[in-house]
Amino acid sequence: MSDSKRVLTKTYHQPLGDKLWRNFVIGIPYFWLLLFFLAPFAIVFKISFATPIVAQPPFTPLFDFTANASQWLLATWDNYRFLTEDNLYWVSYFKSIKTAAISTLICLLIGYPMAYGIARATSTTRNILLMLVILPFWTSFLLRVYAWMGLLGKNGIVNSLLMNMGLIDSPLQMLYTDMAVYLGIVYTYIPFMILPLYATLEKMDPSLHDAAADLGAKPWQTFIDVTLPLSMPGIIAGSLLVFIPAIGEYVIPALLGGIDSLMIGRTLYDEFFVNRDWPLASAVATILLIIVVIPIMLFQRSQQEQE
């Protein structure tokens, strides 16, 4: 019998400490996220029914029981009514989704070959390439968007270069256009496309290619029949990682977009900070949240399948 201090008796009681540890590890992050991530959405929803006033905070409470009977319900659908009536918002939502979709597609078209190339590289090259992909990400994204401002402006580098080469006579309007927004989004989000794609492609068994080739498939066919379907999890993850946040993107449309590049993130930000209309901003946010809920659930499903 080992002379351990733990003696096994006929009746066993599990020490309390084990249960506490488990509850602690699960409970604390759970509670934090419930309080600071989930609960706030409920508050946004609540305030979307308020009315803006000049006060601190700049909106009315939803119920006021001190006033007379007919006036106690201060909550109102006004904000939502305004959203549906004013064309601006419909256009913004639609434009945002369209812009995000197109940008995601471009990201995929550029990012897939890059991820593929990195996955096929030798070990040392691969690590260097990965580092090169991640490096821009570690530097300020704000400043990288700013770099494009310098490049695309009327007095910017690209225009100067083209004019000096004699290809154009007067500077092109590149900044403050939709093209610039696409460019900005693709530029910022491409690491988010490359990394999940790379992760999936890297796990693929290279002998599958050889097997297909052995059975008579040309390289292009191997790609479509074998590589593409198997990399689908990476494609889905990467696309959602770009598409969903891009819908609500603010900085890129604000810096690179024109007056007519209406993105909902910018609209929301302006309602809040410029018009100081918190309830309307909340309504905008609520609708945006409803729009992204389903893609987010798809994303969560794709993350789970990876396990």
């Binding site: 604390i28 759970y30 096929r120 580092m131 490096l135 570690w138 300020s140 930000y269």
Partner: protein, 267 residues
């Protein structure tokens, strides 16, 4: 096979050029004597001196670094706990919701997170009197919230590729769950925790939208200051700032890679 290899190779070249040319241009023109970016006026360090004399920027930078370090540390702790909770603790009620709570911050548009957190702080203030005022503290809480999701994903990924039997062996030898966690699990996921910390630090340092929403009077982070400057157009001292940041980060990454390379050689 040759044609597709050439295609992939040129795609890689184009892609990396696309990624790096703006950065390189930025760096080049930070040394430009002229204030107009398209005209090269000669080599000069004037923008760097202007930068170091700019108190607003220096203060904002220090604040951002402070917030980044604090939020990264707490995000790593919470994110690691979340990662453990999702991979090690078996089944429990509400686990599915928990996975959603960890996945959603990764893709949630920042304007929504920012607005909702601000409204939460306002409501809390009304209800319980805290937070008294918004500023560095509320920004930090906001950053912890979204960063911990990233840390959780990194830790989760490492845990799922770890040999499960290591922890079972520790349990089998008499280790209680707390002991197994500190003796075996944490040492083995330490590198992932470090990556998570660095990622959280970067995300915090870089954040504009959420900080704008959750900040208060007098608390301006570096991105907020930069943004207010560049909204109006290109200003060369920002080039200098960008170069410094890029330079520091690049050197940091290269040192880290070199250290990791040496470590793997030793093994």
């Amino acid at each position: 096979m040759q044609k597709s290899s050439r295609f992939v190779f040129s795609a890689l070249c184009f892609g990396f050029a696309f990624l790096y040319i703006p950065i390189l241009v930025l760096i080049a023109f930070s040394f430009n004597q002229s204030a107009i970016t398209s005209v090269w006026g000669g080599f000069s360090l004037r923008w760097y001196t202007a930068l170091f004399n700019n108190e607003q920027i220096i203060e904002a930078a220090l604040l951002s670094l402070k917030i980044a370090a604090t939020s990264a540390t707490f995000a790593t702790i919470l994110g690691t706990m979340a990662g453990l909770a999702l991979t090690q603790m078996g089944r429990y009620r509400g686990r599915l919701i928990f996975t959603g709570l960890i996945a959603a911050p990764l893709v949630m548009p920042e304007v929504i997170t920012g607005l909702s957190l601000l409204l939460m702080f306002v409501s809390l203030q009304e209800l319980i009197g805290w937070p008294l005022s918004r500023g560095a503290g509320t920004i930090t809480i906001a950053h912890i919230t979204f960063s911990m999701a990233y840390v959780a994903v990194i830790v989760q990924s490492r845990l799922s590729s770890m040999d499960q039997s290591l922890q079972e062996a520790a349990m089998d030898l008499g280790g209680r769950p707390t002991q197994v966690a500190f003796d075996i699990t944490l040492p083995l996921i330490a590198p992932s925790m470090l990556s998570g910390w660095l990622l959280a630090f970067t995300l915090s340092l870089d954040d504009l939208v959420i900080a704008s929403f959750t900040s208060g009077a007098g608390a301006s982070t570096l991105p907020m200051v930069i943004f207010s400057k560049i909204k109006l157009g290109v200003t060369p001292d920002i080039n200098a700032l960008a170069t410094l940041i890029i330079g520091t980060v690049s050197i940091g990454i290269m040192i880290a890679s070199w250290v990791m390379f040496r470590q793997s050689k030793r093994n």
